[in-house]
Symmetry: C2
Subunit: 259 residues, 2 copies
């Protein structure tokens, strides 16, 4: 697979799967900045977090399509896609990893469950500038056109400036017309009433994951949740180091048994 080396290579992936509209909208937009390779899950993997395929091997194949970039599908998770792309599929080291555009919000605590952000954080762990893009709208056919210039601007800025080691960007796009871009923190929140309990025809109980999102800091204007509710694009710089440093210090005086 030959890639024109005068342009940066951009790896594009997602969690909604190789056929998703958002994936190809993003891949096509990225052609403005570089050569694009798409490596995405064969099937949708929403809510997959940074899960790995451990107990079975993974496979990939090139998909034929009338696209101005090559595309490969992987029989695994979004994180598997990034790992296998970097190990085997993409012949050079990409300059940028982008994931999305996800059909649904990955703002606030949803970052923890997001396959889109799983893939993004995987690019970050591999030492590559990485950005996840998600739209606060689950409709698979939502019009993405108005958002694409912003996605290109954000990706261009990251290509030009880089990102610190261990930091990726979680970008969420508001449902309504964009009022601007805001750098935000991850809103503290909780889901409640999380299951819809039903009975099968034989009287067995089963439970569908659902739930109501509740922001725990709804008035603060520096959160991604606030920005999106006010029609801003939210960008949260998101770190792979999950250490709570203040608590490390606070725990110094906890006493432990001697060995």
């Amino acid at each position: 697979m030959a890639i024109n080396s005068s342009r940066p290579t951009i790896l594009v992936t997602n969690d909604d799967g190789i056929e998703a509209h958002g994936l190809h909208a993003l891949a096509t937009a990225m052609l403005e900045l570089g050569d694009v390779v798409v490596v995405a899950p064969r099937e949708g993997h929403s809510g997959m977090s940074q899960a790995l395929t451990v107990r079975v091997p993974v496979r990939y194949r090139e998909e034929k399509g009338d696209t101005p970039y090559r595309q490969y599908s992987v029989s695994g998770t979004p994180t598997d896609c990034v790992k296998l792309a970097l190990h085997t599929i993409v012949p050079c080291r990409p300059a940028l990893v982008v994931a999305g555009i996800n059909h649904g919000s990955n703002a606030s605590i949803n970052v923890l469950y997001s396959g889109t952000m799983g893939a993004t954080l995987e690019g970050c762990v591999a030492g590559l500038p990485s950005i996840g893009f998600s739209l606060v709208n689950r409709e698979p056919g939502a019009d993405l056109t108005p958002y694409l210039p912003y996605c290109v601007d954000i990706a261009r800025a990251v290509l030009e400036r880089g990102l610190p080691d261990g930091v990726a960007l979680n970008v969420n796009l508001p449902r309504r017309a964009v009022q601007g871009v805001k750098i935000c923190r991850q809103a503290p929140a909780r889901w409640h009433s999380e299951y819809d309990a039903r009975q099968d025809p034989w009287g067995g109980d089963y439970y569908w994951l659902t739930g109501i999102f509740e922001s725990l800091d709804g008035e603060a204007e520096d959160t991604d949740d606030w920005a999106l509710r006010h029609s801003y694009i939210s960008i949260v710089p998101t770190r792979v180091d999950m250490t709570d440093y203040p608590m490390m210090k606070a725990m110094e005086d906890w006493k432990w048994r001697k060995h």
Copy 2:
């Protein structure tokens, strides 16, 4: 299901599945501190991160066993177990969530992929003090006896002192005799050479996830990786807010298009 209300209720889960030795060793040890309810995946779910079951419903059933606590298996991920336990299975709000003892390290960047820590962070998101325990030894029959007094001490300290909102503990147990307990930061690291490529009998390529762990800060004595290599138990206070605050500030001068 009646629970003696004079003792705290402790929810015990894992990612290795309801039959794992480490799960029942931890559950039995926790009886010293409170009433125990086990809610664990029906099957093993290593590397599941904080993944959710979204596209199919989940079910649970009580498992019969000669144990001094009730145990339930769930047809989903470790995170599903915590969600369904809190929503439906456990009749009161637990005082503590513990996950493990995982058979394998969840130190350093492995926290990102860990189903054990996915369940732990889920307890934390739900506002409960939560601790994940993992042993740097993948042998399913490893002798856990020497570690259990430490697990009880750590759980007791958390029951007594609580944890700040949004902070859980990632506890890893060293392979050799314990020299003590250290409060640590998550070691920066990378996996490389991550796939073992093979061919099936029909000439098709497939890829097993494997890899070599490389610490990126091997000499620093404040990381979990260092502590474990020197036979200390590592405790990393781990936060669900993944925002990189310094980068938020640094991005203030990035310029964006006006709407």
